[in-house]
């Protein structure tokens, strides 16, 4: 408990650990547990309790389940068998590979949202109109988006129709292993970039307009303004968008996958989240728990790496 409180204090004050906090006290003497000293802990207790009961305990329970069996072995400890099974499972291997593909699309979304926000900020003609239009897909349900793009991307749908008028052969976008997942990811980017776009616009609000004016007076062209003024000023915003976009991509693709490809063809568009759902549907909840632990590990590792990058960038700023 006290460690959690210390960690929170460190985050709030930016101080680095116990040494600083203790220094005003005479060494070697413990302070008595007065009511005043207990109060802050009592105040955070409800939140900690809710977190522990509804977040940590189910999480630990899930990890625990992943070491037990399914069906006849329900409740029996089977060690790492579920993990061993997953590692050689075709669908798990495919979903692990696909996580890498998903991560490759993160910079594309960040770049896309960033460059469009820049244009709006620089007040290109019609910027008010585009500002609303870009945000519109965010308010649509992914199921509806999936249904719309199922029609647009169908083998004999309007997109292929348009392509054929300029003599490009039609492609079954959602039915081929090479194109299924990238197509879903592009639709996901289209559907969600509005949020990143809005965060960028908020970042621009904090940007020093005089800097930009100065650059313009010095004769910087658009590209030079972006590279030398806008990007450095927005480094913190960019980091934040990177982290949220990554989490969104790893945990928010289920509805689109479910409606657009159902994981297929074969296992070409499986992602861990979809696999977890499938395994549970096959009455193998313990195996699904093991897959969930893998997903948790992936998100944790990537998240930690990004937080480290974020911290370094903040120091530089």
């Amino acid at each position: 408990m006290s460690n959690l409180a210390t960690a929170t204090r460190t985050l709030v004050t930016g101080r680095r650990g116990d040494g600083d906090a203790r220094s005003p006290r005479p060494a070697g003497r413990r302070r008595p547990w007065t009511f005043e000293r207990l109060t802050p802990y009592l105040m955070v207790l409800p939140v900690i309790a809710i977190l522990a009961v509804f977040r940590l305990y189910p999480l630990v329970l899930g990890i625990n389940f992943s070491f037990t069996g399914d069906g006849e072995l329900n409740g029996q400890f089977i060690g790492l068998d579920n993990y061993a099974y997953l590692l050689q499972d075709e669908r798990f291997q495919a979903s692990a590979r696909n996580v890498v593909v998903v991560l490759l699309f993160v910079p594309i979304q960040v770049f896309f949202a960033g460059i469009l926000a820049t244009f709006i900020y620089l007040k290109v003609p019609g910027h008010r109109f585009y500002r609303s239009v870009y945000f519109l897909p965010v308010v649509l349900s992914p199921i509806i988006i999936g249904a719309i793009f199922n029609i647009i991307l169908a083998a004999n749908g309007p997109l292929n129709g348009a392509l054929s008028t300029i003599n490009i052969p039609s492609v079954d976008w959602l039915g081929l292993p090479e194109t299924a997942l990238p197509t879903v990811l592009v639709v996901h980017i289209w559907a969600t970039f509005g949020m990143a776009f809005t965060i960028f616009l908020a970042g621009f609000a904090t940007l020093d307009a005089q800097l930009l004016d100065a650059a313009k007076i010095d004769g910087a062209n658009l590209w030079q303004q972006i590279v030398h003024v806008i990007v450095p000023s927005l480094s913190q915003t960019i980091q934040f968008v990177f982290v949220t976009t990554t989490i969104g991509m790893l945990t928010g693709l289920f509805a689109l996958l479910y409606t657009m490809t159902a994981g297929g063809p074969g296992a070409a568009s499986y992602l861990p989240e979809f696999l977890i759902w499938k395994l549970n549907g096959e009455s193998r909840p313990a195996l699904a728990s093991a897959a969930s632990v893998f997903l948790l590990a992936i998100v944790l590792i990537i998240g930690l790496i990004q937080i480290r990058v974020l911290r370094r960038a903040t120091k530089e700023a």
Partner: protein
Amino acid sequence: MKRTIMTTAVAGISLVALTACGGAAPAPESDSANDSSGGETLTIWNWGDADEAAAAYTEDVTAAFAEEHPDVEVEIVNQPFDQYYTLLGSAVEAGTGPDLALYNGGTQLKSRADSLVPVTEELADLQDQLAGWPAFEKDGETYSAPTFLQGFPIYFNKALFESAGLDPAAPPATWDELSAACEQILANTDASCFALGNKEGLGIEFFLSGFGSGVFTPEEYDAWIDGERDWTSDHATQILQMWADSSADGWYNDGANSTAMFNDSFDIFSAGDSAMVVALMSGTAHWKQFDEFLGDDLGFMMPVTANDGTSIALPAEGGIGYGILNEDKKDLGVDWIRASVDHDALAAYSLAGGQITSDTTIELDTDIASANEIVAELPGSKPLLHTALSAEALDLLHRLGQQLLNGDVTVDEAAAKLAAAEG
């Protein structure tokens, strides 16, 4: 920071220890069977009524049951179908399951037979009146009575056959004739030969069960149903090859792998954009639905002969039926099952809902020719090949079906994977 991580880890590990080793699914409660009170209620689970006809059938069944047991309160609980067996499994294991539950015949019922009460003796007198029993039998015991039959008949569009220069009165009877007919349809019309939606991978199920009796000998067929399957045998690889070839020869609509089977692919057939389809005989995507669009142009044909020594049969088996979970209410349960196959209730439902009922004494009073032709083939029908497979094997088959269609795996690779998965 390091201390925080350590503390969290220690706390986590101790929590794991505290939870010991509970299972992911709820564990059964030993005394749950004796839990049922003397109160006369009968709790029944199903997945709800799809339409008005189904609702009317449920009312008829409830009324038939109430005639026998006016004092018993029947509580019907509708569960969502996509989570049905997960919810039911959890409830049964936790000892909070219903007294009766609705089951799909074949794999779904047989894999859960351990939790059901056998009613072989109690339903013996219905044996001759109803068809489709094998889907509800395991190891010589009967667990339910089939209410209606499900199967994969092949429907065709007579008008498209005519414009392709084929005789609608004499549909193809062999695989070679079918191949030639497809060539002709593709050459002379704008339609595809077969409508196919394989987004969920279901297409190969329909193909395997739909054409199986023309490929496997009767002995191989029966062995397959009994669980003795050899995926690498000549005839098993042959049917996988036929599936791959049918795609390579362009039989299907564009983008079959990205088309949903329910109901996009059946809409293609209804709209007259494909000449044939392997569809259903009850529930949905059946003769009554197609008749609304195609009318007299709707035709029905039997599977085609691919090998000598085979015996063509309509693939059909018991579709759904109620199983008894609570031993203490066995008598009431048996009467509910009897009510569910009540002659008048089934007769009314068959026509209103487009069902082929299990009751062979019911004369389907319809002028839809394909429905009468299906009923005429029922006595020689055989169980579906795919419902004999395990859930894992079926999922693998779905994925391989998509890959075979695209040419991403070879037939031999697919056969080897299926053989390995089936042990």
